[in-house]
């Protein structure tokens, strides 16, 4: 394997992994609090659109803020229905994805013309980290990235640290393990769950912003392209552990980047089948851990 190919693979891996680190870490928070948000796909999509609107008005930094805000807004709909009114989470999640798909599609055409002419945004400039960016092969791929990528790198260990070392992290885990006991211990369960959904909304929204502001440079209807669903699978694959989730995201991203390898080496594998590979491998991995995994804390049954 030549050096250029290896660095292209590394670059593609990071490109795929960045939004997944963010979105999956957010989903992890929510699930450890005892909720499952199938609507993450809609949160990412809403974030992408919010980022577009913000960036066209106030530049990229503002775009990330509006992207995060859009993600939070969608998660507040989820929270209002599930936490506020006790609605079924899976159905609510499905509905908010549909809602985001319809709202972003309609608003995009309303705000930017019926044709949806390709709107171009200057993507965030990479910031090379001294020394690290000079590493052979992977240096540029990993360490000459926009600032948001470093944020995504940081979110994974930060989540780990937060769960492990802070009082609030412990409380959140307790809520997922045993809400009745958490209530008895005086932990405000509903408030924790609400905050978890808000943080997850922000992270999902930033994940969507990455797609627009750091990668595509434009918005396309439905551009989240399943990343939200993948992030949910990644949380399971990572066995509901922050570092595991980070590794699972990397693994999925690396598998995805194999399509470039197939192209580059001229292997005669049909492209679409290579595209399906990450999904198939995720399913296989879920089956592999399914039987053996200790029941995840969030999904622990209360007898």
């Amino acid at each position: 394997m030549s050096g250029t190919l290896a660095s292209a693979l590394a670059e593609a891996t990071i490109r795929t992994a960045t939004p997944l680190f963010l979105a999956a870490s957010g989903e992890l928070l929510v699930e450890r609090a005892g909720l499952i948000n199938i609507g993450l796909e809609g949160v990412i999509l809403g974030g992408a659109f919010g980022a577009l609107v913000g960036a066209t008005h106030g530049g990229n930094a503002f775009g990330y803020a509006t992207g995060a805000a859009a993600g939070i807004l969608i998660m507040l709909v989820f929270a209002a229905a599930t936490l506020g009114m006790g609605a079924d989470q899976i159905i609510t999640g499905t509905a908010i994805t549909l809602l985001a798909l319809g709202a972003t599609g309609t608003l995009y055409r309303t705000l930017y013309g019926a044709s949806g002419a390709a709107l171009s945004i200057q993507t965030s400039t990479p910031l090379a980290i001294p020394l690290l960016a000079r590493l052979p092969v992977v240096g540029v791929a990993l360490f000459a990235q926009p600032a948001v990528t470093y944020f995504a790198y940081a979110v994974v260990p930060l989540t780990w640290w937060w769960f492990k070392k802070t009082h609030a992290g412990l409380a959140l885990r307790a809520i997922g393990e045993n809400p009745a006991a958490a209530i008895a211990a005086g932990i405000p369960v509903r408030r924790y769950r609400l905050v978890a959904t808000i943080v997850a909304g922000a992270l999902g929204g930033i994940a969507g912003s990455v797609l627009v502001l750091a990668q595509a440079g434009t918005f396309v209807e439905g551009m989240s392209a399943g990343r939200g669903f993948i992030a949910i699978a990644i949380v399971v694959l990572g066995r509901w552990k922050p570092i595991g989730v980070g590794l699972a995201a990397l693994l999925f991203a690396a598998t995805t980047s194999l399509q470039y390898l197939a192209q580059a080496t001229g292997f005669d594998i049909p492209y679409q089948l290579v595209l399906a590979l990450p999904y198939v491998l995720t399913l296989a991995a879920l089956a592999g851990i399914g039987g053996r995994a200790t029941p995840p804390a969030t999904l622990a049954r209360i007898e």
Binding site: L35, A87, T92, A95, T110, V280, G290
Partner: protein, 346 residues
């Protein structure tokens, strides 16, 4: 409910800055404005969503969160195309029936993967069926660029199936095809099975309370849910086969504009009742047929319908909670999935 939708849409249109009156007129013309609009618009669009709605309703009744009707529909459409394009099969007398059977089997098999993963490896079906939706889409993408591509090898779609392989039209001077009748029949049979047969009772019992069904009813929970899951997939697969042999006549990637997801809204609006699915499917069929006219005649993006569907789902699930699926409520943090998992008595 219908009244709610009729009030909701113009408010939504006005809020988004569209001409609400022109939009509503186009919506009406495209869905109910003429006998042609009813037959070729509403009922043709209702056919696949009645079936996916039925698919979702049966699965949810059994406590199976099958979000994968979309992928199962695609599997069904692909199988129907594949078998109809085999020389000899596609021109025989019974070819459309063979195609429908193949579609149902493919949809059932596609759901069967998720059913197996759930029963054997405890993989949440919500996740596995969504992943399988993507795999199905990629698979169709591969088929229409590979083995099933039309003979010119230019367009990413299959060849058109022979006249003999197409479903017969059931109303002169319209596009309404026999698939509509099949959808009604399927809903009626499902209603009868649920209501009057032992299998239907087991399905309902398992969905309502798997533990009680296992302990008090001595029902094999895993077998019952797996069967319901596969049946649900078979119905979605049938929807795909009917869409292919009745409407599109060729396989391509965008053959379904989200019929599988619309099916969830259809099923919920019908309160998971198979007969009510027919009515709610027709409502959504009218909505989607009208939305196409709205985009064409009034410049309102048809994707507005997704907002309406989402609002219907949210409104219903809040105002009128379902008994099944109650397990995934946040109260007391009972596991969304674990509590639906059957107890495996060894």
């Amino acid at each position: 409910m219908l009244g709610g939708v009729v009030v909701l849409i113009p408010i939504l249109l006005a809020a988004l800055g569209f001409d609400a009156e022109a939009g509503m007129l186009a919506l009406f013309r495209g869905s109910l404005g003429s006998s042609y609009a009813i037959a070729s618009g509403t009922l043709v669009r209702a056919t696949p969503v009645i079936l996916t709605g039925l698919s979702v309703a049966l699965a949810f009744r059994a406590g199976v969160f099958n979000i994968g009707a979309e992928g199962q529909l695609l599997a069904g459409a692909a199988a129907a195309a594949g078998i109809s394009l085999i020389p000899g099969v596609g021109s025989s007398y019974a070819s459309s029936w063979i195609a429908l059977l193949a579609g149902a089997c493919a949809g059932g098999a596609w759901a069967g993967i998720a059913a197996l993963l759930r029963a054997r490896f405890r993989v949440l079906e919500v996740i596995s069926t969504i992943l399988l939706n993507f795999v199905a889409l990629d698979l169709v993408g591969y088929l229409v660029r590979g083995p099933l591509q039309e003979s010119q090898h230019i367009y990413p779609q299959s060849a058109t199936i022979a006249m003999a392989a197409r479903l017969p039209r059931i109303l002169p001077a319209s596009r309404l095809h026999a698939g509509f009748g099949i959808a009604i029949a399927a809903a009626s049979v499902a209603w009868w099975i649920l209501r009057f047969t032992a299998a239907g009772f087991r399905l309902r019992a398992v969905g309502a309370n798997p533990d009680a069904a296992q302990v008090a009813g001595e029902i094999d929970v895993v077998r019952t849910t797996s069967r319901a899951f596969i049946l649900s997939g078979a119905i979605a697969g049938l929807a795909g086969a009917i869409e292919l042999t009745g409407v599109t006549f060729a396989l391509y990637e965008n053959i379904s504009p989200g019929y599988g997801y619309t099916g969830i809204a259809v099923a919920l609006l019908a309160r998971l009742d198979p007969l009510a699915v027919v009515a709610s499917g027709m409502l959504f069929g009218a909505l989607e047929a009208g939305a196409s006219a709205m985009q064409r005649d009034a410049g309102v993006p048809s994707v507005v319908v997704s907002i309406v569907e989402a609002m219907i789902i949210l409104g219903l699930i809040v105002a009128w909670p379902l008994e099944v699926g109650a397990a995934s409520k946040p109260s007391e943090g009972v596991a969304p999935s674990e509590s639906r998992e059957p107890e495996l008595n060894t």
